[in-house]
Structure formats: structure tokens, C-alpha cells
Amino acid sequence: MTKMRSNRLKIIFMLCLACVTTGGQHFESKVAQLLQDETEHIKCFVEGKDLTCFWEEEEERNHLHNQYTFTYSYENKNKMACAVSSLSLLASNKTIFFCKLAKTPFFTTLHVQVHRDGQKLYTRSLNAENFLFLDPPRNLTVLSSGKEGQLNVSWLPPQLKYMDDSMIYEVRYAAEGSDLGKVEVIKVSTMLVLLGLESDTRYKVWVRVKPDGVAYKGYWSAWTEPVFGVTPPSDVDPLIVLLVLSIGLILCLLSLTVILSHQKFLLKKLWPDIPTPEHKFPGLFTVYKGDFKEWMSHNNGSMWGRSVHVYTEELPSPLEVLSEVSLTSHDTSHREEVKPAEEDEEKESERSDSGLTDRWPDPPHAHWLMDQLRALQENPESHSQSSLLQSHDTYVTLNQGDIEQQADDVFEETLPLQTLFSSAGTPSLSISHSDLGSLQQSSGSGRLSSQSSLEYPNHTWPPKGPGYAYMAVADSGVSMDYSPMSSSRIAELGRHRIYTNDYKNEIFPHKWPLSGQYIKSG
């Protein structure tokens, strides 16, 4: 029986000690904090329902607590005394004297005074309800809400009557290992959901409390001990995964369908066939096994035109006429050789009425030629059978392409070039020979080379309308009139701009009549 009583007493004592220790710890921490923050000599705070006022011992003075007296008064009542106690703070190695009012009057002005050895030391007037120093919140818990990036934080308010609805809380949280933290303020409510947190992260959470300042005012309490919580890992919504997979599958099927439907086209674009000239040379590789010589010998005539046609994709515009004319007299054969130097012809407008080489370096016989042409203009008939015609040389004309007869002209020009007549000394020939110049297809440089590669396939030039014109013309439109044949059109030649190689061949089927020749300029 005695043992049981002693055991009970021990337990009660231990509990009381624990309570005092806890309270003492809170008390000391509050005192320590106010020692730093409060500037008044008498520092007061309300803990629970009691007001505690304390002051610091002066440096290097060892006063005893009984040397001090603490008095207070309110509402014109008489002064009341309060018992003074001392406390040594271990952390800061300071000594304080304090007084705890047993029955603290709230909502009225208190006048407190501290005397030492009968002398007034400090005074202060304050309202007790404005100096609440609450304990930290209790039972802080941090739980995962199950949702991504969220944590549920809850706590209990400090045990204080009448003030539950007058408190404001501050929640501080930070990821473990991080110094940066965020703060959330919440009124009255004792739970909070933290949002916007990182997934699968450990967080530390603290909470503190203070009166809201309407009915009661006070200091921020100390932070609670940190409590840890882990946010759930990010989970992908299965519906979203399913949708993404479905869309991906549909896209794949669509692209596959497109690829298959345009297989050939795509293959052609991505892996183009190396072009072969087989189709242009029928039978070359199949029959003749690539023997071109043999193929040529078998397909010479028929293929030639085609090949020419292949290469002449556009209207052959230039004509180079090289004529060698010796124009000394009517009887003598002239060899007119016009070998224009290689010059650039600029514009067709620069071709003057003469249509001659104004810009070209005059060949030696150019002036003579000019004279001849003028003579022809004056007397076209007398020069109908000029010595030019009688020249041994031949020159060839090409139809540049009259608009009316463009189709025919094209066809005509696809025909191989051939001399209109071959031998000199045939006066009946109406067409003068000339050295056939190479086809000039340069489009802009009026170069006329004096090559004389002649091609004289045996091909009758189909007769066309009356007259012909022959000249060496470059694509630029410069025309060089070499015609020894005079006609009334020569006069026109001098007047009009000559930029085309247009002619009308007057060749009769069998012979090459000399008469009726004129130059038709386009």
C-alpha cells in the first residue's frame, strides 16, 4: 500500500516535472526571443491567461531578486505588488528578473513599475490582450492526399480558451535539402492543402501561430518541429495513354496507306531511275548490242532527222552564212567570204538600216559588198545573175520562221541543212551557195563563226512561197545580209529592222531559178 502510494507520487512528480520542463523550455525560449526583439526595459508577454513581465539584470551587477519590487495598477485602483523571481539563461549566460501576474486583468490599461531598493527603475503602460505569446501549434501532421503534387497539412491550435477563432497561422514548407521555402498564411482553419509541389519529393513543413490582431494581438509563436511528407509520384492517366496510343496507331495506318497508294511516285522521287537513252535509240541495245556504228549504218537515214529533231528543241534561230564571194566583176567569180570577226552584237536596234556590220570589224571586202548591195538596189534586174550567183561557193539560208508559215518553217528547219545548189558556174541557180556555217543558237551573242562544216544531204528543199531571204543572223536579232541577190526587198532591208532570218525560197522543184528572188525581211 505504501509502495503504491510512493509510486503514484513519483509518477505525478515526473509528470509535473515534465510539464514544468516543457513550460520552462517554452518560457525560456520566449524570454530569449523577447530579449532580442523587444526594446522596452520591461518586457511583457501573456502565456496562457497570465501576464509575465521581466527585465534584464544590469551588466556586472549581481543583484538579488529581493532587491526588486514589481507593482501594477489599473482602472484607478490601488497598486498591487507581484512576487519577483530570477532566472539564469544558459544559452545567453544572462540573468533576468520576472513577475507573473496571477490574475491578469485584460481589456484595460495596466500600469507596471519596477523599483530597486525603493527607487523607481522602469515603468510601462500596456494592455495585456495585446501581448499574447502563444505556444506553437500541436500535433502537426503531413499526409499525402493521393493527388499529384499535393500534401495535406493539419495541426491543433494551442490550448487557449476564447481565442480559437482569433488565430492566424503561417505554414512554411521546403523540399528536403533545399534552403528555399514558401510560406502560406491561413486564418482560423487548422488545415491546409499544399499545391504545386514536385512529385515524389520529400518536403519539410513547419507551422506557427499568432493572434489575428482584431480582439487579441501578440507575437509570432516559435516554429513547430519540422514534419516530413512525401508527395506521390507522378502517374500518367491511363485514359490519356490509351488515347495517345490510339492516335499514334491511326496516324501510322494513315501514313502507311498514303505511302502504299503513292508508292510509285514516292519511289520515283526518292530513288529516281537513272535515265537511259535507250528509247531514243531503238534497237541499239537490243538488236545491235550497243554497236553504234552498226546501228547507225542501219538507221542512218531515218534516224537522222529524228536525232536532229531531238536536239533542235527550239526554233533554230541563228544562221550563219559564210559566203565566199569574189565580186570583182560580172564575169569573174567572186568569192565572197564574209568572216565576221567574233564580235558581240548588242541589240537589234543597233542594227542599222544597212543591216551590216556597223559594229563589227569590217572585213576587207565589206565596203565592196556594200557597194554591191547598193548597186543591186538600184538595178535589181541587172544583177539578177550577179557574179555572186556565179560564185563557186554556196551559201545556205534558213528560214527563221515567218509567223504564217511557222509550222512549216519549223519543219523545214528540222530538215537537214543542204546546199541549194552545189556548183559554181551554174547561172541558172538562183540560190547562192555559201559555206554553211554552223548553226548558231546562242541567244544573245551575235557571234558568227566562220566555220564551214557543210552538210549536204540529198534532200530537196521544198519550194515555198516567192522569194527568199538569206542572211547570217544571230539570235539577238542582228542580221547580216549577205545576199548578193538584189531585189526590191533590199531596199526594204535598208529601211526595216532586220532581226530575223526569214525567207521564202523560190526554188523550183528541179532547178534553182535565179529569177524572182527577193529578200523578205521579217
Binding site: 491567461k49 486583468p105 485584460f106 484595460t108 490599461t109 490582450e129 476564447y162 477563432d165 480582439a215
Partner: protein, 186 residues
């Protein structure tokens, strides 16, 4: 004569009906209303501190005691608390009205007028909480001798400070512990 008595009886019936058949007010238990009044009383103190001229004269006012000893207050019954609160509100109403007569500063006049209307509203709130029984004990004028529940202040700033303390203390404690509100919460 008979007509007159008939009219009187009819009027009595109406008065009785008016007295008893009035539907009870819905209890106003939200303390945010009182907090609003407390803030406006504090605003008057701020305006008073900044007042320069026309801020009233030195005059004695009888005001209620505002100190609250929680231990004592908890042991007091609700009726006693209600009486204290009602009496105090009446004293404040009179004191503020008298003070306003001496004030010419318009912001201060406006603030005092606001405080007076807030006190009237508090009376309605107490009525809604069935705590209006003590109205009959209100002292009619300020010339009456100070009771144990009153004190004397000699300036308007002190009067305003008493008002703030009274609203924050006794009035709030009474409203927060009103039985009508306790029944509502439970």
C-alpha cells in the same frame, strides 16, 4: 365613453399581439460583425490621435469598466454578463453622443457617429441572442452617480480607448459564449 373604452381595448389587444407575436430574430452569431465594429472603434482612436483642432473639450464621461478577469468571468452566469454588457453599451452610447456635441472636426464627427450606430447594432445583436433583459437597468442620464460598474474618464481619447477595450473584451466574450450560438453549433 363606451366607444372610447372599446378603442382602448382594441389598442391593448394590438399592443399585446405586437409584444408577443413578433417573430424572434434569427441569432447573429458571426463574430465578424463585432470584429468590424472593433476595427471602426480603433479607427476613431487613430483619427483622434491625428486630430488638429475642433477635437472636443476636456469633459468627464462615465464609462463602463472594461477589465476582464477570466477566472471571475467564467464563473459569472450569462445573465450577469449580459447585464454588464448592456449597461456598458448604454453608457458608451451616452458618452459618445455627449462628446460629439463638442467636436467640430468633421472626420472625427463622422467616426463618432459611426461608433454610435455600431453600438445600436450591437443592441440588436444582443436582442437576437435573447440577451436583452438588462435594458431596463440602463441609467437614463449621465448625471447619475457612478455605479460599481462604471468609471470616470476626463477626455475623449480615453473615452475612445474605453470603447475599444469594452467591445474587444466583455462584449466579445458574451457573444462568443452566447447560449443561442452554442445551441446552433451543437
Amino acid at each position: 365613453m363606451q366607444t372610447f373604452s372599446g378603442l382602448v381595448s382594441i389598442l391593448t389587444v394590438f399592443l399585446w399581439l405586437g409584444g408577443n407575436l413578433v417573430s424572434p430574430l434569427r441569432p447573429i452569431c458571426d463574430l465578424r460583425v463585432l470584429d468590424h465594429f472593433v476595427r471602426e472603434a480603433r479607427d476613431s482612436e487613430v483619427i483622434m490621435r491625428g486630430c488638429r483642432g475642433g477635437c472636443g473639450v476636456m469633459k468627464s464621461y462615465f464609462v463602463p469598466l472594461t477589465s476582464v478577469d477570466f477566472a471571475v468571468w467564467e464563473h459569472m452566469d450569462v445573465t450577469g454578463q449580459a447585464v454588464e454588457v448592456q449597461t456598458g453599451l448604454s453608457l458608451l452610447d451616452q458618452a459618445l453622443s455627449n462628446a460629439m456635441k463638442t467636436v467640430s472636426n468633421s472626420p472625427l464627427t463622422s467616426a463618432l457617429d459611426n461608433n454610435i450606430s455600431n453600438i445600436h447594432s450591437l443592441g440588436q445583436i444582443l436582442h437576437s441572442l435573447d440577451l436583452q433583459q438588462a435594458r431596463s437597468t440602463v441609467l437614463p442620464d449621465d448625471s447619475a452617480p457612478a455605479s460599481a460598474q462604471t468609471q470616470e474618464v476626463s477626455s475623449l481619447p480615453e473615452l475612445l480607448q474605453v470603447q475599444s477595450s469594452f467591445l474587444r473584451g466583455k462584449v466579445r466574450l458574451l457573444l462568443s459564449a452566447a447560449p443561442a450560438c452554442q445551441r446552433q453549433n451543437s
